[in-house]
């Protein structure tokens, strides 16, 4: 039992080491993040401008606002996925990780968390920006409702997307046509959750109670658990060439 405890402790240390390295590396290549954010901001601006041109003076409905935001987030995920395994494989640094005594599951979990942190950071900026640019017709949410929205409407879907992104990034890194395979694999995996994510966000922004979003919530959680189980289950095959 003591050995198991020690092994978990050392796995946790390794997980933190890899995550720290990834964050430090990313900060040193800050231009990449700026480019992704710029892509998101320009997309929001173009989308909002075209909406406002057609519907003069009408506030953007919540449904359109949510679709706009999540559509841009799905594309953002593709850029981040390249950073997870594809780039490490191309540079050769992945071999440094896989030839070390770090278990593949620790490596994959650290990449999921890294993807989650990066995606959350970019989402935060994009959502704040879109609230000001798109001006959706949202009634003032109180603090609790806003907290619910962040925790359930943003954090849970982001975690699910991060798991899917890591899985697809690892699956496609050995492919010769990565740029083609990456979105091709990602869309069938995230397609089932697009509708629950939108519905969840719309209902939360309309100020509906938790009891009204149970089905979407359960679906998202089940999808996240299923994808995570697949990721861990095939971890040995995923990272072996």
């Amino acid at each position: 039992m003591k050995t198991k405890k020690n092994s978990s402790k050392s796995d946790l240390k390794l997980f933190i080491t890899i995550l720290q390295k990834d964050i430090k590396s990313e900060i040193r290549q800050i231009n990449d993040i700026f480019s992704i954010i710029l892509f998101g901001i320009i997309s929001i601006f173009i989308f909002s401008s075209s909406y406002n041109t057609i519907n003069l003076g009408v506030l953007m409905p919540i449904e359109i606002f949510v679709i706009q935001i999540w559509l841009i987030i799905f594309f953002t995920l593709i850029f981040i996925m390249i950073k997870l395994f594809v780039q490490e494989k191309e540079k050769g640094t992945l071999y440094g990780l896989t030839s070390s005594p770090v278990s593949n599951s620790v490596l994959l979990i650290s990449k999921v968390v890294f993807c989650f942190i990066l995606l959350s950071f970019i989402e935060l900026i994009l959502i704040l920006f879109s609230f000001f640019i798109s001006i959706p017709s949202i009634q003032a949410l109180n603090f609790n409702e806003f907290l619910y929205y962040i925790m359930i409407g943003i954090v849970l879907p982001t975690l699910d997307l991060s798991i899917c992104g890591t899985l697809v990034s690892a699956l496609s890194m050995y492919s010769k046509n990565k740029s083609f395979v990456l979105p091709l694999l990602l869309f069938p995996i995230i397609l089932p959750i697009t509708s629950p994510i939108m519905s969840l966000n719309i209902k939360l922004l309309e100020g509906e109670l938790i009891s009204m979003i149970v089905i979407e919530l359960l679906f998202l959680m089940a999808h996240a658990i299923l994808m995570f189980s697949i990721l861990i289950f095939v971890s040995e095959e995923l990272l072996s060439e």
């Binding site: 590396s25 050769g92 030839s99």
Partner: protein, 237 residues
């Protein structure tokens, strides 16, 4: 003095198949402790595949590898702890400094000791003439300097086996000479066992105790260095 050498690495009938293509086909050999094995062969002979299998980067389709009496498949974590690998692609993170890279890898191998790490780095940096570059990002270094950092990375790890895949590619004559000197020194002073896959026949002859010639995934010849000459090696290409 005993003439008996301890077998450190044993490959038993290892094969690697990609679809219908055999990158390695029933390879068997063993390697004694504190020796250098030069693996040579033409492009596509299976050198890199062999190094990748030994480094744990890919699994053999069939066959068994035993290192220090332990089955690789069943003990991969503890075996990877004693293997140091250098390939033609750098393991170092270009945007991090030499210091940060070495710290990361020593943490990865659970050998990081805050109290001694700085002294260790200073010692190796001095030895490899990199003292002024320790806090420089890897992207600012030349190919030769990067290769030196790769060597420091594995020295800090303190391995028993060193796997090198084309370590001399892209290096000038003087750097190759220096690396050869370092490798011989490592074998003699640190008692390392080295497997080196290279195109450079002269270098392989200079440093190896044993030569393994691969041709289309199969062993063409495996012999001590004194039993094989350059012309014979060239005839296999």
């Amino acid at each position: 003095m005993s003439n008996f050498n301890t077998i450190l690495l044993e490959c038993d009938n290892i094969s690697k198949q990609y679809g219908f293509f055999f990158a390695l086909n029933k390879i068997s050999f063993h390697l004694d402790e504190n020796s250098i094995l030069g693996v040579i062969g033409a492009n596509g002979a299976g050198k890199t595949t062999l190094i990748k299998i030994l480094a744990g980067l890919t699994s053999p389709t069939s066959g068994k590898i035993v290192i220090k009496g332990k089955n690789y498949k069943a003990n991969d974590k503890s075996i990877k702890q004693i293997i140091g690998t250098i390939t033609n692609k750098s393991f170092l993170y270009e945007e991090l400094t030499i210091y940060e890279n070495l710290k990361f890898f020593s943490k990865l191998y659970s050998i990081y000791d805050k109290s001694t790490f700085k002294d260790k780095i200073d010692y190796y940096a001095k030895k490899f003439n990199l003292s002024n570059w320790i806090f420089e990002p890897i992207s600012n270094l030349s190919t030769g300097m990067k290769q030196k950092v790769e060597i420091i990375r594995i020295l800090i790890q303190n391995p028993s086996i060193l796997l090198l895949d084309e370590p001399f590619s892209g290096l000038d004559f003087n750097t190759i000479k220096l690396l050869v000197k370092i490798l011989i020194e490592l074998k003699e002073k640190e008692n390392l066992t080295i497997v080196i896959a290279t195109h450079k026949i002269e270098v392989a002859q200079e440093i190896s105790d044993k030569i393994l010639i691969l041709k289309r995934g199969k062993i063409s010849k495996l012999a001590p260095i004194n039993e094989i000459d350059k012309n014979e090696i060239e005839s296999y290409f």
